[in-house]
């Protein structure tokens, strides 16, 4: 049994740094691998065990004890899987989020991964991005808040200094204060509550509250619902650059807010989804936003005008692609079955939206949108130029059949790399493809895909890389890779929902539960 790679990120040469190599980052469980595509080998590997040795010096005196201990026990017990991976625009830093709510920043110095900081967020992050200024990270969490953190945390704060947390976190209690209930005799109206109040008055002192996390972070904006995705958009208006943060939540909202420092101003909403929104994708170079969620349709928005341009049905992927060289013949015959299973499926959950480069008929460079539906062994493809079509005729999607469900996609040069949920030994976990328009008249914008053999050769080492800690059980892997379907709300009965996060007593579903 082998672990699939659950996250991918590509690092390439930048205009500023044209001589650097292409690198690929792949996360396998709790480990992070760095692969150099020029040398064709794994050049660096990071695992949480390394973190124990390298506790960063910028920890608090009081808090320094705790993270160390946590680290040791975590490494011995169950190392946290990496759930999100992203890079900074200048390709020098990597930010990873692990299952233990930690945001870890790595530097890529001399082609080696080195963890330079780790910060534990209050709630599990669901989306993370480094802003183009390469100094700030925005991070959205399941609770509904979007935070901004500096890429590099500040050195240890002075003892007793207040962290600049602009939210209502629980205030620090210096020493034990007398307990002062907020309610008084006048505000309490029923017998039972009055008795509770008397009991509280008799209580002597506070029990010590949890220490707040002492690092610089700011709440930029928040939803009351669970956040599912965050995107950062820049738009040119009259020559000036305007920045926006687009957030999607479980209650079908897509909100567009101004970027920091005015992120408390909501510009508008793109409303129309009938089920949860799980993924957002901004089409570069346009004002188009594609969103997918718990429905069989993708929504295409002009986000700057808050209007819906059209929807794309995933059930109607008319064409299916034959990829030469792949062992897909058996799939081709039952080709209809992949598509039928989608149409028959009532519960579609979009698990990924990516824009990848593709070649147009006249060899110019274009872009294509890739759509992954949870647990479906294929990727839907649509050229981004077709997203503008709004004459009622739906643009045709092409379905790229794959051996296994795709988990993540990254772009390297003109090709893109897909990581698959391949759990048997010997199966390829990572494949590389090149996308282009099919030759001939482009009626339905059919796409053609070829395997990038050259790139796959270089990725061979990742495909064969054995992972020593094979604690990967099927159920744990499923939970890690396939969480999107859980976002669906079950109407008709009261569910704990996200209040379950901060209501360990199960107070959620409270209409019948006594609350004191």
């Amino acid at each position: 049994m082998q672990r699939p790679y659950q996250c991918l990120a590509a690092i390439g040469p930048t205009p500023r740094n044209p001589t650097s190599n292409f690198h690929l980052l792949a996360a396998c469980g709790p480990r992070l691998l760095l692969l150099s595509l020029d040398e064709g080998g794994i050049v660096s590997e990071w695992s949480p065990a390394d973190a124990v040795a390298e506790v960063p010096e910028d920890d608090e005196d009081g808090g320094g004890e705790r993270p160390k201990k946590k680290q040791k026990t975590a490494a011995q017990a169950k190392p946290a899987n990496i759930i999100k991976l992203t890079t900074s625009c200048n390709e020098q830093y990597v930010v990873a989020v692990t299952d233990d709510k930690c945001v870890r920043v790595f530097s890529l110095v001399d082609g080696k991964l080195r963890e330079i900081s780790q910060r534990c967020m209050p709630k599990r992050p669901c989306a993370i991005q480094v802003l183009p200024d390469n100094t700030t990270i925005i991070c959205g969490d399941k609770f509904g808040d979007v935070y901004s953190l500096p890429l590099h945390p500040e050195p240890a704060l002075e003892a007793g200094a207040e962290p600049s947390v602009a939210t209502e976190t629980t205030p620090e209690i210096k020493g034990k204060q007398a307990f002062k209930p907020s309610a008084t005799n006048l505000t309490v109206h029923t017998q039972r509550n009055r008795k509770s109040l008397e009991a509280q008055m008799a209580q002597k002192a506070f029990s010590a509250k949890k220490e707040p996390l002492k690092f610089d972070r700011k709440v930029l904006l928040g939803h009351v619902s669970m956040l599912t995705d965050v995107a950062y958009a820049i738009r040119n208006v009259d020559g000036a650059e305007r920045r926006y943060i687009i957030t999607a939540d479980r209650d079908e909202h897509i909100r567009i807010s101004r970027g920091p420092p005015q992120s408390h101003i909501i510009e508008g909403y793109c409303l129309g989804h009938k089920e949860f929104v799980s993924k957002l994708c901004i089409v570069p170079g346009t004002d188009l936003l594609v969103s997918g969620g718990g429905e069989s349709e993708l929504y295409v928005w002009d986000w700057a005008a808050f209007t819906l341009k059209g929807t794309i049905s995933l059930c109607d992927a008319a064409l299916s692609m034959r990829v030469p060289g792949m062992n897909e013949l058996s799939k081709l015959d039952s080709n209809g079955s992949v598509q039928d299973s989608i149409s028959a499926k009532k519960d579609i959950a979009v698990s990924g939206l990516w824009v990848v480069p593709c070649q147009a008929q006249d060899d110019t460079k274009e872009a294509a949108l890739l759509v992954a539906v949870e647990r479906v062994p294929g990727l839907y493809v649509l050229p981004t130029s077709k997203l503008h079509v709004v004459d009622g005729k739906e643009p045709g999607l092409t379905l790229l059949n794959l051996d296994h469900p795709p988990i993540d996609v990254a772009c390297i040069g003109d090709s893109f790399v897909v990581t698959l949920d391949a759990r048997e030994e010997g199966q390829d976990r990572i494949r590389a493809f090149k996308m282009r328009h099919a030759p001939g008249p482009t009626q339905a914008g059919s796409m053609e895909c070829t395997r990038d053999e050259e790139l796959e050769e270089k990725l061979r080492c990742i495909n064969t890389h054995a992972v020593t800690d094979s604690g990967a059980e099927a159920k744990a892997l499923d939970d890690l890779l396939y969480g999107v379907a859980n976002l669906r709300k079950r109407r008709g009965w009261v569910e704990p929902g996200k209040a379950g996060d901060d209501d360990p007593d199960g107070e959620a579903g409270a209409e019948d539960v006594a609350e004191d």
């Binding site: 209502e168 505000t187 101003i265 109407r491 009965w493």
Partner: protein
């Protein structure tokens, strides 16, 4: 809730004629409701998809309303414009969030008969009470045409406020005696928070006001702190408030306010004005 079916039976039996006021005792429901749990709520996909003519039949029109249809924020997300939603001649301008049994609504309604007022309440029975009362009052005052501008909806405003109102639609928001949620870990459930204030700012027009009142001093300080800390709001001073009759109405006419007075408690009022948005940096 075992109590509900029995009460509903009694409620139906006692109803004798149209126009008779509903009795609160048949509509009692527990004061607390969890705004996070997925109630079987219905809400429109967007403000333009909402059929307001059901709530304000006196204002229904057959011709397109004054709500401009080219405004993308009110156009239904339906590029082929297949669905036609009945329109009303003007938009709701005043919202009472957590209106309870409607004391404030029914006190304000006759004072501004040409302004549409909406009560939002999360508890089912209580919403029904207000709706029944509105119907009864309209019948009783059929000749003068009063109370046609007030209605109530069951809604979770913490999550779905933007589903009902477009940007800058409201001129007044009332938050009367909200649930204090004393425990620190329940603070996120409070009706006022830094992040939720952005939504209030979104649905309020510039110059609009948020009126708040509570008898819990701690909550009052919390509300004041969070609105003051939000760049889209500024506090309205005492002098300016003196001329505003809404403040007096809010103090005196809500059910909770009357209860507080009976018990000899204090009322803390604070009002904020929604400022213009600054230009983008």
């Amino acid at each position: 809730m075992a109590g509900a079916p029995k009460k509903r039976q009694k409620r139906d039996e006692s109803k004798q004629e149209e126009g008779q006021m509903p009795q609160k005792k048949f509509y009692r429901q527990r004061a607390h409701a969890n705004p996070f749990s997925d109630h079987d709520l219905t809400y429109p996909a967007s403000p333009a998809a909402m059929d307001w003519s059901q709530h304000y039949p006196a204002f229904a029109t057959t011709t397109p309303s004054s709500i401009p249809t080219h405004d993308p924020r009110t156009t239904p997300p339906d590029p082929n414009n297949e669905i036609q939603v009945p329109q009303i001649s003007q938009q709701v301008q005043i919202a009472d969030i957590g209106c309870g049994f409607g004391g404030l609504l029914f006190a304000l309604a006759p004072k501004m008969p040409s302004t549409l007022i909406l009560g939002l309440e999360i508890r089912t029975s209580v919403t029904e009470f207000v709706q029944e009362k509105a119907k009864a009052l309209r019948l009783q005052h059929a000749s003068s045409g009063l109370y046609r501008n007030v209605s109530c909806i069951r809604a979770n405003t913490m999550k779905f406020l933007p589903n009902f109102f477009v940007k800058g639609q409201l001129s007044k928001i009332f938050l009367c005696f909200p649930d204090p949620h004393f425990k620190a870990r329940k603070h996120k459930a409070r009706i006022v928070s830094g992040t939720l204030n952005s939504e209030y700012a979104f649905v309020l027009a510039a110059g609009g006001r948020v009126y708040t009142i509570t008898d819990v001093e701690d909550l009052h300080l919390w509300i004041a702190k969070h609105f003051e800390g939000h760049a889209s709001f500024e506090r309205v001073g005492e002098e300016e408030l003196e001329g505003d009759e809404c403040v007096e109405t809010m103090r005196r006419e809500t059910e909770e306010g009357k209860k507080v007075e009976r018990n000899g408690g204090r009322k803390f009022v604070v009002v904020f004005r929604r400022l213009e948005d600054p230009p983008c940096p």
